[in-house]
Symmetry: C2
Subunit: 344 residues, 2 copies
């Protein structure tokens, strides 16, 4: 049985091997993803981001446990977690790694947690995350959490491409952590105040409510980077009309993830947002945004690699040296390399 059919049939070892190949950006990994692509698009993606110290990992663990042990009458779902970990391959990979995180969920074949050290993503962080998510999707995982630390442009972009994005806050963080929080509020579909048993929790909740009121009714202003065409709406009415009768107002949920408090309320908020996406045309719009971002990334790579194939590395080097010595400007350098114009 080939790798792709093994992954589809739920073979954990095959999936694990595929995930490594995606991280290493191997030709086999790329080919397998291409073969699996028609079988993707079924999973529900939940982005989880927030400043360091807010307890995102333990929150995601609790959520995963919740979906594995749902209230009576609901089916348990297969859950995968892709954690973008800001650690280094150099220091031995994900410090908050798979082992520690797996304790609650150990031995459950319906859960798969993969920590990816952000500097270890050879094909780039966004592309690697997309690949891992697609592999889990094709492998039959119904719910995929994408967890990032919300302090970087790329990391926030990644989390915001999910169907539902949770932004996690906690009381008592330092000033610059607060500033990070402010930068990512606008991508939240659901706001979480974790560690809500700590002093200052009420204050944190009030502050978030005020910020949301100030923001409302401003639309989601968040703009993705690297889009080739600024906005490519589907045929049909404008996005605002597609939103349905009522726009979504992000609810705020208080949790204590270490004690499992507020987790079912959070799951309900996620479910409410999922229904909203289905009722409005939001689902398709997010899917289009996500695949559009992936397409643009691949177009860029294809254009660059085609150009590289027909350029002489030596002339590239010469142009770069002229640039370093300030004999030419960056624009002249680009013209020389792309149009073959002579440099002064």
């Amino acid at each position: 049985m080939g790798l792709t059919s093994a992954v589809q049939s739920g073979d954990r070892l095959a999936l694990s091997r595929l995930l490594s190949q995606i991280e290493d950006d191997t030709p086999q990994g790329r080919a397998a993803l291409e073969a699996l692509f028609p079988h993707t698009g079924k999973a529900y993606l939940v982005g989880v981001t927030g400043a360091p110290g807010t307890g995102k990992s333990s929150l995601v663990n609790r959520l995963a446990y919740h979906y594995r042990h749902p209230p009576q009458g609901e089916e348990p779902q297969k859950v995968a977690v892709v954690a973008v970990d800001p650690t280094s391959p150099f220091t031995g990979g994900a410090l908050l790694g798979d082992r520690i995180r797996m304790q609650d969920l150990a031995g459950d074949p319906g859960v798969f947690i993969r920590s990816m050290a952000s500097r270890g993503a050879l094909g780039g962080l966004a592309a690697t995350t997309t690949g891992l998510v697609q592999a889990f999707d094709a492998g039959g995982f119904e719910l995929i959490f994408i967890e990032t630390v919300g302090a970087g442009q790329v990391e926030v972009d990644i989390a915001s491409l999910a169907h539902t994005t949770l932004v996690v806050d906690a009381p008592g963080l330092g000033d610059d952590v607060q500033a990070i929080k402010a930068g990512i509020l606008e991508i939240a579909d659901v706001l979480v105040v974790n560690k809500a048993d700590r002093p200052g929790a009420d204050q944190a909740l009030r502050a978030l409510r005020t910020m949301l009121q100030l923001a409302h009714p401003a639309p989601r202003t968040f703009r993705h980077h690297n889009r080739i065409f600024e906005a490519v709406p589907a045929a049909g009415p404008a996005p605002s009309a597609q939103e349905g009768p009522a726009a979504w107002e992000p609810p705020i949920v208080a949790t204590v993830s270490t004690e499992g408090k507020g987790i079912s309320e959070l799951a309900q908020a996620i479910e409410a947002h999922r229904r909203h996406l289905i009722d409005s045309a939001g689902w398709g719009r997010r899917e289009r945004e996500r695949l559009g971002t992936e397409l643009d990334l691949r177009l860029q790579q294809a254009l660059v690699s085609r150009w590289r194939e027909q350029v002489d590395p030596e002339s590239y080097r010469q142009v770069l040296e002229k640039l370093v010595s300030r004999a030419i400007t960056p624009q002249e350098a680009v013209r020389a390399l792309v149009d073959g114009k002579d440099t002064p």
Copy 2:
């Protein structure tokens, strides 16, 4: 007098206007940068990064003050600060903004601090930072600090492109902040333990020393993203031979930035690294790496924009819709768009 000559002559208002145009990515801003480029390359760039909560901003303020009021016998230098602030245009811009930061340095024409909200960088974070640095460089600022929060791929890349990169740590940070730290140690030329009067400072110093010993003699393994040619060395001996007789071992400096302690020791460590760069061929190598990264970014943009000019947005939209419906794979979509191949 035109904008570019006004900037070169030290006109603060003109410089301020140019900085805004660079942030807004206007055609005038781009043209001015192009005209100023031959006058750049003189400034010394110091990257400052570290996890949230380590006190980077106050450290940079103190350093700026130090270079403005140097020990007897040394000349004061003109100092600029580009602070990449993880805040949102939506919440009113840089929370840790220029006003608060300027208190110590207010009224000194030899200091210019610019906070850039990371989501406000219309041309992309890396390109905007590069532009701001070039504007300060052409405006005669001799020392430019580039301060980022080290929790994102792009942000760490930006700081590491300086001549000297400081990585700032502090005692008593939470677990995931520690993990962020581990991810950025490898780009450090100088390590700083700030807030060294706090409990746990000795432990933090010891931990860093151990990590450095484990790392040594591993070379700087850090790899920049988006390079079109993996390594384009200058003509001449291999980089390792150019390093000079002794490789650089990052020193660890303890500081208490709120009280100004350890600041002159830190300045000495920066100066020692600067001399090392000049004595080895490191200076030119970093310059080449920085401009190479900029060149590659611009090449990408040029290739994409040329391609976009000759593609029909409607056919792009159709290909994207086929991708969303899983009728074609990403690779087929790219082939259809770049080679004009028919899709199934």
